[in-house]
Each structure stands twice: as structure tokens, then as C-alpha cells.
């Protein structure tokens, strides 16, 4: 459902069809996503239009995903190395 919404706003029927869900089941699904603040729903006439509320997804995982994690892991290793280097330096000064 989120994959479908990632390409734009959809009404409930459009969301339900490819998932072979009934309209009430799709509606319930959307309610859960709304509760998790991942989807926003607006009513336009008789249509319930849903769209992604992308912010929590971005916050949860970072839109930079694996790129960010790769750098974070390296820079944390760099932090540990710097701690060692600071300790080495203190040791040298003591001598």
C-alpha cells in the first residue's frame, strides 16, 4: 500500500484493488497507517484520497538510508581511534 502511495495520491478503491482487499479491509489498513502518521487521508466528495505523509518515514530511517549508516559506522570507528590516539599522546607526555 505504501509502495503504491509512493507514486502519488490514491483513493481507497485504487489501493484495495491490486492488494485484492475489500473496501472495509483497505479502510482499516489505512486507519492503522494513519495512526502511525505514515498516511494522510482527505475526503473529496465521496472519495477518500490517501497520500504518504513522508516525514515519519524519513525520520525513522533517514532518507539517506544505507549511505548514512555506512558513514556513521566509519565515523564511530574514527571516534574510537581518536580516543586511542589521545590516550597514546597522554602516555607519551607522561614519559
Amino acid at each position: 500500500m505504501l509502495r503504491q502511495l509512493s507514486s502519488g495520491e490514491r483513493n481507497l478503491s485504487e489501493l484495495a484493488a491490486p492488494l485484492r482487499m475489500t473496501f472495509p479491509a483497505a479502510s482499516k489498513h489505512v486507519r492503522v497507517l494513519e495512526g502511525a502518521k505514515l498516511v494522510r487521508r482527505r475526503v473529496d466528495g465521496r472519495q477518500h484520497l490517501c497520500r504518504l505523509s513522508a516525514a515519519p518515514l524519513e525520520d525513522a530511517n533517514g532518507w539517506t538510508g544505507q549511505f548514512r549508516r555506512n558513514w556513521e559506522v566509519r565515523l564511530e570507528a574514527l571516534d574510537s581511534l581518536l580516543d586511542e590516539m589521545k590516550a597514546e599522546e597522554r602516555e607519551r607526555r607522561r614519559r
Partner: protein, 165 residues
Amino acid sequence: MTPSPASLRITTPTDTTIVLTRAFQAPLRLVWEAMFTPDRMRRWMLPPPGLTLTSCVCEPRLGGALKLAWKSEDADPVMTLEGTFTDVVFHERIVHTEAIALASGQVISSLVEEHAFTEEGGVTFMSITQTYESKEARDGAIGSGMDQGMEACYQQLDALMAEAP
């Protein structure tokens, strides 16, 4: 929420750039040594899973070389990184080119990386500006990872859905 000094900030100020900023609880001269001395680099330039760093050359002076190679169980080298230092201001700024290639010679990433450093009260602030050849290349660098990130997120959601009454 105030980010901790160590938190990594990633921004994309233009279509072809990625800027990473990060602070270190260490004086600038140590950060510089850790980042541009081969023996030190080996300690934090952690390879992708399954790969081992086999050689590391880093000559942080104008025209100096940057050369890294990795091997896998099947191939040695399986991937190389080659670049040249194009601007070096000691303990302040460093710019190098960088081309990452597969053993076949196919270049999978080509960029210019600029590092800038300042120090304040024993804390070093670093910014890395990566400039890619095109928006597509820039998006590709982040995007391949983003897909994985999104996929992980979708999987968490699938689990959440399964639990929903």
C-alpha cells in the same frame, strides 16, 4: 531534540552535491592524522561486508595519490579507489578526486571530495562536500542505499500490519 556533537548531518545543498558534517571530541591535528595516514585509515575505513582492504596509499600533498584496493573471497582486487589530491591546506582543507572501479575497470562512482576542518576548544568540526558528475550520479550514490533503507522500513511496516487487530 538537540543533536549530540557526534551526530552526522547529511544535506544536499545542490543537485550534484552531498555535504556531511560531523564533530569529533579530539584536536584537529589528531583528526587530520587519523583521516590521512594509511595505518590510521585502515582502522576506520571499514570495508563493505565480505571485502578486505588490501592496500592503502594516501599522500596528502598537491598532486599526491590516493589509492585503495579491496579483495573478496573470489577476486583480488574486487574493487579499487583511485584519486589525486588537488588542493591541500595543512590542517584546514583537503580536496581530492576519487574514482571507484570494479576489477573489470568499470567505474561505478566518480566524484570530488572536499574536506574542511575547524577546531574550537578541543572539538574538531569537519565537513565533507562530495561533488558528483550529475544529479543522477549523486542520487545513485544515496539512492542505492535509500532503497535498502526503504525496504527495511516496509518490512517493519509489514510486521506492524500483521500485528494490527
